[in-house]
């Protein structure tokens, strides 16, 4: 087990290094730079050249990369070229929106996926089970942005239950308002992600139903549902944990789109705007943090999975 954790940690570190290189290089491929953006459509070539020099854009790429990574290792993510604010401060401020949004979306996805997934597996030979399964296929294919527009139309503009957009300027000092502002966006992401998740839950449940131990329990006089709930669920739970790790990436992507649509001041919206301004130190920091979150959750899921599933433990020992 110790050896396994060490191996996975090495992989995680390697993954982060590769990611940082990819992020750094991909951003350098983009045409245009922050000096041009600051000088704008009235700037002279001399102005742009002088700004480039001042902002350190003329340094060789390896120098730029290592000074960035050197900073990250010591906890200094850098400073925005445009706003002169610390990347860490920006991230922390925007995380107040994105992290609760992600967790709420995850919650919505689970609330939808687990009961409906199990139900559609148990009723797989009935109309209702088929309808659930087909419905999930359909909803999973809906673009998040369209789902968001429909929800805004119905629940904000017609019914007026929720804000159509925005986040209270007082933030979490008014927890009620802040929570309400995130409900609709979280439902939007949660419905679509939940439909994807539901199909996993369904197949995991089907898998469990046909397992020997569930069949044995059923033979002892339990109904099939009782047998599944008592003996099969742990293995379903394990499958869900694994998939949830993968879903984080989907939720992050969803947040980028949804924060724009609902005008939420979160990491996703910041990312789009900062790429648009070529504020590369900020974008690098944002992307690295997002990548690290996804990789860390994957890492945690693997470890938990191993601890919970005796078969995997035995296989490696």
């Amino acid at each position: 087990m110790i050896r396994y954790i060490l191996t996975r940690s090495a992989l995680l570190t390697g993954g982060l290094i590769v990611a940082s290189l990819l992020i750094f290089l991909a951003l350098r491929v983009l045409p245009g730079d922050v000096a041009q953006v600051i000088a704008g459509a009235e700037g002279t070539p001399e102005q742009v050249a002088q700004l480039r020099e001042e902002l350190g854009l003329n340094e060789p790429l390896p120098v730029q990369y290592f000074s960035w990574i050197g900073g990250v290792v010591t906890g200094d993510m850098g400073t925005s070229l445009i706003t002169n604010t610390k990347v860490v401060d920006e991230l922390l401020e925007k995380a107040e929106v994105t992290i609760p949004l992600g967790l709420m979306a995850m919650g919505v996805a689970l609330v939808i996926a687990v009961p409906l997934g199990i139900l559609s597996a148990l009723r797989r030979n009935k109309m209702s089970g088929t309808a659930l399964s087909v419905g999930a296929q359909g909803v999973a294919a809906v673009p998040v942005i369209w789902a968001g527009m429909v929800l805004i139309l119905v629940f904000s503009l017609w019914l007026g239950w929720f804000r159509a957009q925005g986040f209270p300027r007082a933030g979490w000092e008014k927890p009620g308002d802040a929570f309400m502002a995130l409900v609709l966006p979280a439902i939007t992401i949660g419905i679509v992600e939940g439909a994807v998740l539901m199909r996993f839950v369904r197949s995991a449940t089907l898998d469990a139903v046909t397992r020997d131990f569930v069949r044995t329990a059923a033979a002892k006089g339990l109904t099939r549902t009782q047998a599944l709930l008592r003996h099969g669920l742990p293995s379903v739970g394990l499958s869900i944990i694994t998939v949830l790790g993968l879903q984080v990436a989907g939720i992050v992507v969803g947040a980028v789109v949804i924060e724009k649509l609902f005008n939420l001041p979160g990491i996703g919206r910041m990312l789009i705007d900062d790429v648009g301004a070529r504020d590369l130190p900020l974008v690098q920091g944002e992307l690295l943090v997002l990548t690290a979150v996804v990789l860390l959750i994957g890492f945690a899921v693997d470890i938990v999975h191993r601890i919970l599933d005796p078969r995997l433990r035995e296989a490696s020992e």
Partner: protein, 507 residues
């Protein structure tokens, strides 16, 4: 007064917004297009929430270009010696008055008494000298190019500033109304102008929540009449639909830059919509240096192919513009005789030019959407020209089109007033090099006679249009939606200036 309405389940936001917006307002007459129709007395400590589209990147108006900063900071936070009113006329600001010598080379300004910066420093002529010397000597400061022929900036005494030019420049006073003319405190060496502000205006910069909002508070120590509003919050909503939703569900008192195609959403609400003029020139640039666009017949054919009325209908607002100078700027004249919609004539011209199966690429920053490009594709298609659309991010446009001149056709809104100089600059991305135009423009600047200057500008503009150096699809109009309780909110050029000094909330 309600700033935001918390929405509870089961209560319609619309109903709430209505009840929150005008609890004691008298019945409103039907909204007119001329602006506010509210009657009543101003609220002593009004708080205003304004929806805007483009958020600035930082507060450093000296080093950062773009209308987003100018829109909120000029007149409200920072002031120059002079400013301009809604009709683009030059009026005094920090200066009580000014004189220009008959030869157009010496400008003498007298400063107002008792002006104090937000940081407590009294304003003297030394601050003006320091500010303008920086613009003149530091190439990274906005306006450095426009200050090229400033010879000296001196202060004979604490309340007088004298500026001399090497040659006359009839646009110089106007330059002083731009960010180049703003006055900063020479004594203040500690304020980080990127994240804070220290000006002389009627409002103080209070706070900024990035990607969300910027808040100003009233400057109670203002040197002239204090503002009516105690607090103004600018909320940034890049998505047009989200902006309209924010307004109609009670989050905003004013929404600027209403998408004309969404204006219908305000029907049946309390909001009044005003339509203002701008100097936004929707410029379809032709790369004049690149074959076959270096052939005037090809350029004329492209202009004749465009159905401008249909473009304006699709965009939803704006007026036709047939030359480089818009109606609000000096030198404007109606040039509709130069070109008209004539697809058949366009085909003939292409034939004469010996051009067959022409394929062109239009580079357009993606935030302009697809309304204009759809129309252009079908218009050009009708004369046998295939138009490929390349949607790019703005920095890519700056790099490829603006800097490297690597394009066939380009579309951007040129919003700056009085920017005819671009047509007299052969190195500008238009690639338009006409000695006659350059001479006329130089003469227009050098004369001290305004009427003569306008005449010369008009002559130059006609040549540019007759050369078909570009097509001007329309001059933008700007739609602003405001609640009846908001009075004095500007209508014109709202995208580049929002002077809040006289805005009030009445009840």
């Amino acid at each position: 007064m309600f700033r935001r309405t918390a929405v509870f389940a089961g209560l319609a936001a619309i109903a709430l917004a209505l009840s929150a917006c005008a609890p004691s307002a008298p019945a409103q007459p039907s909204p007119s297009a001329t602006g506010p129709s509210a009657t009543g007395s101003p609220v002593a400590d009004g708080e205003l929430v304004v929806g805007l589209v483009l958020e600035p990147d930082n507060l450093d108006i000296r080093h950062t270009s773009g209308a987003a900063l100018e829109q909120i900071l000029v007149d409200n936070i920072y002031q120059g010696l002079v400013t301009r009113d809604e009709e683009n006329k030059i009026i005094p600001a920090l200066a009580t008055d000014y004189t220009v010598s008959p030869d157009g080379l010496t400008y003498t300004f007298t400063l107002n008494e008792g002006v104090v910066f937000h940081g407590g420093q009294p304003l003297t002529s030394a601050d003006v000298v320091a500010s303008y010397t920086t613009v003149k000597t530091d190439a990274t400061v906005i306006g450095n190019r426009e200050f090229a022929n400033v010879a000296t900036v001196t202060a004979p005494d604490a309340s007088t500033v004298v500026i001399t030019l090497t040659e006359p420049d009839i646009n110089f006073l106007f330059t002083l109304t731009t960010p180049a003319g703003l006055v900063f405190s020479a004594a203040d060496t500690t304020t980080d102008l990127k994240t804070a502000a220290n000006g002389t205006g009627p409002f103080l910069f209070d706070s900024w929540k990035r990607k969300d909002s910027i808040t100003f508070k009233r400057n109670d120590a203002y040197w002239s009449d204090a503002a009516q509003l105690a607090e103004v919050t600018f909320v940034y909503i890049p998505d047009f639909t989200a902006g309209v939703n924010a307004a109609t569900t009670g989050d905003l008192d004013v929404l600027t830059a209403v998408d004309p195609n969404l204006a219908v959403n305000f029907d049946g609400t309390d909001f009044v919509i005003t339509t203002g003029k701008t100097t936004d020139k929707a410029t379809l640039a032709f790369n004049n240096k690149k074959a076959p666009l270096d052939n005037v017949k090809v350029r004329e054919a492209l202009r004749m192919a465009i159905n401008h009325e249909a473009v304006i209908t699709a965009v939803g607002s704006g007026v036709e513009q047939f030359g480089p100078i818009p109606e609000l700027d000096p030198g404007y004249e109606d040039l509709s005789d130069v070109v008209s919609y004539d697809p058949e004539g366009a085909k003939k011209l292409l034939e004469e030019a010996g051009v067959k199966d022409l394929q062109l690429t239009l580079t357009i920053p993606s935030f302009y959407g697809t309304t204009v490009t759809k129309q252009l594709v079908s218009d050009f298609n009708a004369i046998g020209v295939t138009l490929k659309i390349e949607n790019v991010e703005f920095p890519t446009w700056l790099n490829d089109v603006y800097t490297n001149h690597d394009y066939d056709l380009s579309f951007v809104l040129h919003v700056e007033p009085r920017d005819f100089s671009n047509w007299a600059n052969p190195d500008y991305y238009f690639g338009y090099d006409n000695k006659k135009v350059q001479q006329l423009y130089a003469d227009a600047l050098a004369t001290t006679d305004e009427a003569q200057s306008e005449k010369l500008l008009a002559e130059a503009a006609r040549i540019v249009s007759e050369d078909h150096a570009a097509d001007w699809l329309y001059t933008g109009a700007t739609l602003t939606a405001h609640l009846p309780k908001v009075t004095g909110f500007p209508m014109n050029s709202v995208n580049s200036r929002i002077n809040l000094a006289n805005v009030a909330i009445v009840e």
